[in-house]
Symmetry: C2
Amino acid sequence: MYTISDVITFLKQDTDTIPQTVDQLYNGNLASPVQRIGVCFMPTIHVIKRALDLQIDLLVCHEGLFYSHQQQNVYKDDWLSHEKKKIIAHSPIAIYRYHDYAHRGKQDFITEGLLHTLKWNKLVTHQTPVASIVQLPKQTLQELIKYVQTQLHIHTSRYIGNLNLEVSKVACLVGYRGGGQTAIPQFVQEDVDVVLYGEGPEWETPEWIRDRNEIGAGKAGIILGHIESEEPGMEYITMLLQNKFPTLSITHIASNNIIQTYCAGKEM
Amino acid sequence: MYTISDVITFLKQDTDTIPQTVDQLYNGNLASPVQRIGVCFMPTIHVIKRALDLQIDLLVCHEGLFYSHQQQNVYKDDWLSHEKKKIIAHSPIAIYRYHDYAHRGKQDFITEGLLHTLKWNKLVTHQTPVASIVQLPKQTLQELIKYVQTQLHIHTSRYIGNLNLEVSKVACLVGYRGGGQTAIPQFVQEDVDVVLYGEGPEWETPEWIRDRNEIGAGKAGIILGHIESEEPGMEYITMLLQNKFPTLSITHIASNNIIQTYCAGKEM
C-alpha cells in the first residue's frame, strides 16, 4: 500500500531541497493511503468535481487553488474562494501543488513534457537554465506554427514575425518564461531564430523582436498560452507516476484552456 | 517659444510628485526649444525613424526604450540595444517617457483616452484606484466585444465567458492591470459583469472567472492586449498637447500592434 508521502517523495526525488517553495499539500496528510491519483494543470472547481466523480484520493496540480502564484489567500472577502475552500474541505481529496519541484529537478518535467508532445526530445542540442534549445529541419514560421498547433491540438496561437521567415533553431520556454529577462537572452546568447513560450509581458520580448526585425535578420516568437505550454508537462508526469506505481489508478484530468479568441466576427 | 521643460511641466501639472518613477528624459535637455512633438505608445526603432522623417524634436512615449519596464539596461551584451542607443544618440530627438505621471494624476489620462475612444466617458459611474466602472445598456458579451473591436479598429480579442451572457456593468483596466490583485476586486467589491483589460497573468483573473462561472452567475473578461488598451490614451494626450500648445506641430505616431494571431490555418 502506498501513502501520499510515497508519491510526493517520488515526485521530489531528483530535486535538491528548495527552501522557499509554493509547493504544498492542502486538505490531506502525508500518512494517508492512496489508491487513485488525479493529475491536472489547473485545480479548477470543475476539475475537482471530476476528481470526486473518479473517487480520487490525491490530486496533483501545477498551479495554485486561489488565483495567485503564492498560495496565500489574497482575496479574503471573496465569496468564491470561501466556496471553493468549503467544497475541498467537504471532500476526501488531498491536493498537492507540484510546481517548483517539477521545474527544478535534474530534468524540468514540464519542459520535457512539451518536448515529448512536440516529438522534439531527440532534437534538443542543449539546455539553458530556463529553456531547451532545439535544432529543427529548416522550415517557414508558418509551417512551424501549424506543426505545433497540430501536435498540441490547439487551433489558435499568437505570434510575432514574418510567416515566410525560414527558421530552424528554437528555444522552448514553458509557462511565464516569455518575459524579457528569460526569453531575450535566448536570442542574444543562443542566437535562436524563434522563442516559443507560454506567456510574458507584451512590451518586452515581442518589442525586442519587432526592433530586431527592423534592423537585421528575421527573428520570431510564438506565444502558446500558459496552459497550452504546461499541460503537456502534467500529462508527462501522469506517465511517470503510472510507470512508478503500476498498481494504482492514475488519471490525467485535462484543465483545458479558458481563454478564447473572437476574431473577425467569429468565435474561434 | 516653448522648451522641453514647458511641455513636461504641463504633462505633470495635475500629478503629485512621484518619488520613484520610470519617467525620464533621454537624449535631450530641458532647456532645448521645441517645435515639433511626436506622441507614441511604444518607441520602436520604426517609430523613431518616422519621427526623424517628421523632423520631430521631442518624442513623448509611454513604454520604455529597452524592452523592460525599468529603464535600466538589463541586456548589456545585446547588439540590438547598442544599435538602438546609437540611432538615438546620432539623432536630434529627445525622448520623454511619460508613464507613471500619465496614470496617476487627478485623471488617469490613459484610461481616459480608452473611455474617450469607446465613447463611454458619460457612462462612468465611478472610479476605483485602478479602474473606471461603466454602466452600459444591457447587451450580450458578443455585442460588447464587437462594439469594442469596431471602436478600437481591431479585429481580434481574447475573452473568457459565454458570448450570450447579458452584461451591463464593466470595469475598464488599461495595460498590465489585468492581474488578479487589480482585476478580481472589481468583481468582488464592485460586482461588475465584465473586466476589460490590457494584459495580465493567465492563471489569475481568467481562472477566477472560470471558477465563478462553474458555481454561480455569469461573469466575463475581455483581454484587449497591452497596446490596444493604451494606445488610445496616447492619442488622447496628443489632443491635450494640441489644445495647450496650438502653435506647435504635434503628431500621434501609431506604434500598432506587433502580436498577430494564427487561427484555424489562417493569419488573422
